[in-house]
């Protein structure tokens, strides 16, 4: 374990920002801290960096307790939101700062700076001072400086935030390779779920209560711990409908627009209870009228979304449902459509607690071939 945080508590006056947060990151791993602003993500980074001290709890790096260890002795590289570039130095000198401090020879510095600058697409502005750089360029310069030092641990606070959409997409594809090449242990803060899923080996989802779930992108997307997390991942957002499961012969079902939909028999404990069903828009398919279990939907609007087509529809009870399908595949754009729900890809949440119900593995579920 390269980095371990145990029961970290941090308050500013009476405002408790972190209350017993624990976290561990392995060597070469990229851990994404994901969550809304105000969740304490940046405070956590600053604690690791040693810029501020925790009120309680321990931070260990490579097995060594960091209490009292100065920021510059922690082997950490940082790129924070406020850039913090040296205003009197040009981009090259800023990026080279950690290398110059180590007395690396000039040729090697030029080579390293050039390589990183090309990858981050700032090689054309290397002689500009910070005030001549756009915000996106400043952010990439700060990122380049953090990478140049080849630190053991890299703390990146939303480094692509101010970068335009096209470049952001390119960097999202290229950054993981660069981070792996450096074999750095990375903590990456973002509020963009796509960035979190694309870059993270694991994602820690944080909110005002602390870290609510840690897992691989697959685990977070496919088995979210609660409604809030299910809503944070995916675009369009997951459909959430109030339901109360009923026991039927051979299983459990819910009713949508008067049509019974069979769900995993392992949800039998929830029969008669107040639940919320979560259906991802891509787990719904349009079918022909009269198909088995087809639910009628009044089409309200069709909105294309990055190689997907999103349809907003209303059930007979006036509940909104969003359906997503690959662009170019058939589906109704007006009038009435008919949908079926992929029962393998629904989530059931307890309406009172918001927690996801894990279906019990039953013989019936196994024989139905329904995944947990």
């Amino acid at each position: 374990m390269t980095l371990a945080l145990e029961n970290i508590v941090k308050a500013f006056k009476k405002d408790v920002v972190l209350d017993g947060v624990s976290l561990s990151v392995g060597r070469g791993e990229t851990l994404v801290l994901f969550g809304p602003s105000g969740a304490g993500k940046t405070v956590l980074l600053r604690l690791i960096a040693g810029v501020i001290e925790p009120d309680a709890g321990t931070i260990t790096i490579k097995g060594r307790d960091m209490e009292g260890v100065e920021p510059e002795d922690r082997g950490i590289g940082m790129a924070f939101q406020n850039f913090a570039l040296f205003p009197h130095m040009d981009a090259t000198e800023n990026i080279a700062a950690p290398l110059t401090a180590r007395n690396m020879n000039k040729t090697a510095i030029t080579e390293t700076v050039g390589k990183i600058a090309r990858m981050l697409k700032i090689d054309h502005v290397l002689h500009h001072k910070p005030k001549e750089l756009s915000n996106g360029q400043k952010q990439r310069t700060a990122l380049a400086r953090a990478l140049a030092g080849e630190p053991d641990i890299l703390l990146l606070d939303d480094p692509l935030r101010n970068v335009d959409a096209k470049l952001r997409f390119e960097m999202r594809l290229e950054l993981p390779r660069l981070l792996k090449d450096q074999n750095a242990t990375v903590i990456y803060v973002t509020q963009d779920y796509k960035e979190a899923m694309a870059l993270g080996d694991r994602i820690a989802v944080m909110n005002a209560r602390g870290i609510e779930q840690t897992g691989t992108p697959e685990e977070i997307y496919l088995t979210p711990a609660n409604i809030e997390i299910a809503r944070l991942f995916g675009d369009p957002v997951i459909n959430l409908l109030d339901v109360s499961p009923v026991q039927v012969e051979g299983g459990v079902c819910i009713t949508l627009s008067g049509v019974p939909v069979n769900i995993d028999a392992g949800y039998s404990d929830m029969v008669g209870r107040d639940c919320i069903i979560g259906i991802r828009p891509e787990a719904i398919r349009f079918v022909e009228e009269g198909s088995a279990e087809a639910i009628p939907l009044t089409i309200e609007a069709e909105t294309p979304l990055n190689e997907k087509t999103v349809t907003l529809g209303l059930t007979q009870n006036g509940r909104e449902i969003m359906v997503s399908r690959p662009a170019g595949t058939p589906g109704p754009s007006q009038g009435t459509g008919y949908i079926v729900i992929d029962a393998n890809h629904i989530h059931l949440f307890d309406r009172a607690t918001g927690k996801r119900i894990v279906p019990v593995k039953t013989q019936a579920a196994v024989s139905q071939g329904v995944a947990p």
């Binding site: 959409a165 899923m197 694309a198 675009d235 294309p304 907003l312």
Partner: protein
């Protein structure tokens, strides 16, 4: 069907005509009644100046603007019968959000019950019913934006002008509200022009998109046409996410077959009749061209050209794969989860019908698919 709004030879100069900054250059545009139009471009492209000239906040330097049968370019904003949601055209700070939204209807002396019903409808749609009794300065930027949008959409006007209407919305609400707003506008037969820098928003909402760059209208067409037949390299790469793949290529005739050399030893070979004769002739005459292919149109095929995977990112309902290809990187979008790992060799096929050919120097489209542009 006849046009509701027509821009003819519209110019905007900041400073003296022909001498100042030529921010909007000779725009010609017809908008039909009931259409949703997006003015799309990056900052400084002239889209907001164009919108402000239509609204009357900005003087039209040259040309005419015809709205609902009358020339309006010399009229003050209040006499143009347009409803607006603009940045800087803010809510009245001294009255509540609810009163702001109802203001125009009350001024038009609509019965109270009708005003209340309309306010309820539009504020429920935009999820701001809980802030109606609050004052604009006490609500968040995103809520102010939605209140401003509600105030515009509730009005009965010839034209609705919306400037970056959803910029500050939380991502979980954005896609849902786009659907609701589109339905609201269409159901009432309103005509709307929205300005945005976000191509996703333009694609989601607009019947037609006006792509602007450097003060010039680059293309004015349906989202489908811009996707399948972009007028030039700019619109081709600006609209679409992930962006279109672009490669420099050299075309040549190899024993009747058409060969595209992408550099780094990579050749794509097509049968003699893969392209229409005029396209083939153009390709061979030009030799040096730019080749574009949309990420969704790149298919894996064992007989395709070799590429090496550098990233495979799963986003829940799409996989984005990047691979080194020719002298650059090629990006693929797949809807199923792609079972490839970094370092794997894959083979990709670029079908003639999915290729866009652009002029190397001007960027103008030469052909789309196997047909001439």
């Amino acid at each position: 069907m006849t046009f509701l709004l027509k821009l003819s030879g519209v110019d905007k100069f900041y400073g003296p005509v022909n001498k100042g900054v030529h921010a909007v250059q000779n725009i010609n545009m017809d908008v039909m009644k009931g259409e949703i139009i997006a003015l799309l471009g990056s900052s400084g492209c002239g889209k907001t100046s164009t919108l402000r000239m239509i609204a009357g906040f900005e003087e039209t330097s040259r040309g005419t603007i015809t709205l609902a049968g009358r020339e309006v370019q010399a009229l003050p904003p209040v006499r143009r019968n347009v409803a607006m949601a603009f940045e800087g055209y803010s809510l009245y700070p001294t009255v509540t959000v609810g009163e702001n939204i109802a203001f125009a209807l009350k001024a038009a002396r609509l019965p109270t019950a009708e005003v209340e019903a309309k306010v309820r409808e539009v504020t429920e749609m935009l999820e701001i019913t809980d802030i109606l009794d609050r004052y604009p300065t006490s609500v968040s930027g995103g809520q102010q934006q939605r209140a401003s949008l509600a105030r515009a959409l509730i009005r009965d006007a010839d034209l609705h002008l919306l400037d970056e209407p959803m910029g500050q919305l939380e991502p979980q609400l954005r896609t849902l509200l786009r659907g609701r707003i589109k339905h609201y506008i269409k159901e009432r037969g309103l005509t709307a022009i929205l300005v945005t820098h976000d191509q996703t928003e333009a694609n989601a909402l607009a019947d037609r998109i006006a792509v602007m760059e450097g003060g010039v209208l680059q293309q004015f067409a349906t989202p489908q046409t811009i996707k399948e037949a972009p007028a030039n390299l700019f619109t081709g790469t600006f609209v679409g996410e992930p962006p279109m793949n672009v490669f420099a290529a050299e075309a040549s005739d190899r024993d009747g077959q058409l060969q595209l050399d992408l550099g780094d030893g990579l050749h794509l070979t097509y049968a003699a009749d893969a392209f229409a004769p005029d396209v083939r002739a153009t390709l061979l005459a030009r030799k040096q061209i730019m080749l574009g292919v949309r990420p969704y149109a790149v298919h894996r095929d064992t007989h395709g050209a070799r590429a090496q995977v550098i990233a495979n990112q799963w986003l829940g309902d799409q996989s984005h794969i990047a691979a080194t290809f020719a002298q650059g990187t090629i990006v693929l979008v797949e809807h199923d989860r792609a079972d490839v790992a970094v370092g794997d060799a894959i083979h990709v096929r670029l079908a003639p019908e999915d290729l866009h050919v652009f002029d190397k120097d001007t960027g103008a489209a030469l052909s789309h698919g196997a047909q001439m542009a």
